[in-house]
């Protein structure tokens, strides 16, 4: 089955992974800007990273018939450095006209600090000013509940934000309800240790329905599995779900959300 991976960090993956994903049915992916595993020292590091996301990765993906889209920001972890964050935010508009940029992301919170919240709000201003979609990272483990609620507070306070233009990622059993109730899209990240397993993601689909929900692998430099979406497809088939239901969550929903960006030009396979 053809599918999208709406959140995968291909800069951390080998070319073999592109080949494997193509063979598993991945036809398109979106790659949010994220933490590299170390704190970068200058805005120029981010400039190079944004060139990698907007120039190099689309070419690498295209060699395997995969369409590559991306999101730009300074991530929540490095947002603790407010001065650097503001330099990066000021630079982002240079890249917004690149053909594969869908919006601002993955912004959000990490440890739910004041500085993270300040930079999150400044990213929201950037997205509103440039009419961009927004992709949001929610914190992990014991910080997820508080962080998700803080993010919802900030989003819902701003009446300029259209919930259907925002994807809130890494939802789990205790955060998916509030995200969907407020009209936002929800991403379920399939991850071996933290976040969510394919079985639990299917449990959530069965509990909340298929609207505004999409799974992703977040395949990155940590212990992650870039082929996690085929695992979810397999789990749904095992439980007897129809091919139409599976296709909605792994293919149609991402297309529906991404289509709200003028830069999303997707060519389905014949």
């Amino acid at each position: 089955m053809d599918y999208f991976d709406p959140h995968i960090h291909m800069v951390s993956r080998t070319t073999d992974d592109y080949a494997t994903l193509a063979r598993m049915g991945c036809v398109a992916m979106s790659e949010p800007a994220f933490w590299a595993g170390f704190d970068r020292g200058s805005a120029d590091s981010f400039r190079d990273y944004f060139r990698q996301l907007t120039e190099t990765e689309p070419q690498r993906a295209a060699q395997y018939g995969i369409q590559h889209f991306t999101w730009l920001c300074i991530n929540a972890k490095e947002a603790e450095n407010v001065e650097l964050s503001r330099e990066v935010i000021a630079m982002i508009p240079e890249f917004l006209e690149k053909s594969n940029v869908l919006g601002i992301g993955e912004i959000g919170l990490n440890k739910n600090t004041k500085n993270e919240a300040i930079i999150f709000l400044e990213h929201l201003e950037l997205a509103i000013e440039h009419n961009q979609l927004i992709l949001i990272h929610t914190p992990h483990l014991e910080d997820k509940y508080q962080g998700t609620k803080m993010i919802l507070d900030m989003l819902c306070d701003d009446k300029r934000i259209e919930p259907s233009h925002v994807l809130i990622d890494h939802v789990e059993e205790h955060t998916i309800g509030p995200v969907l109730e407020k009209g936002f899209w929800a991403g379920m990240t399939l991850y071996p240790i933290s976040k969510c397993t394919p079985s639990r993601a299917v449990d959530m689909i069965e509990r909340y329905g298929t609207d505004r929900l999409m799974p992703n692998s977040a395949g990155d430099w940590g212990p992650s599995k870039p082929t996690a979406i085929p695992d979810l497809i397999f789990e749904m088939r095992k439980r007897g779900h129809s091919e139409a239901t599976i296709r909605k969550v792994v293919y149609e929903n991402p297309i529906d959300f991404f289509s709200k960006s003028p830069n999303f030009h997707f060519t389905p396979r014949h």
Binding site: A117, L141, E142, T175, E206, R207, G240
Partner: protein, 110 residues
Amino acid sequence: MSSKPTPQKSQVSKILEEEYLPLRAKILELGAALDRLELADTNFSKNPKVLQLLQAIKLLIPEGLSEDTNDESSNGKNLPDGKAQARRAEKIQLHFSRIYNESWRKEYDI
């Protein structure tokens, strides 16, 4: 809102069959890991993280379930409706979460 896709009826007993042994194995792993911790730590029962884990395990057990599985008086018939109980994952997530601080904006002056 879309209709909620549910597993086909014919799949339900199959799911139980498939889940039974893996679940049994996971419960055994839990028991063995807690034994390991207790043997290694003389303050086992006072350790806050251990207590948090043990409290989380209690959230798995439906109210009204007798500890004696051979007790015919319980025998499942007095248990609340299964679907009403089926929020264990959500409860466990909240158990391991920091409590939401509603006044965060005031404290951060944002």
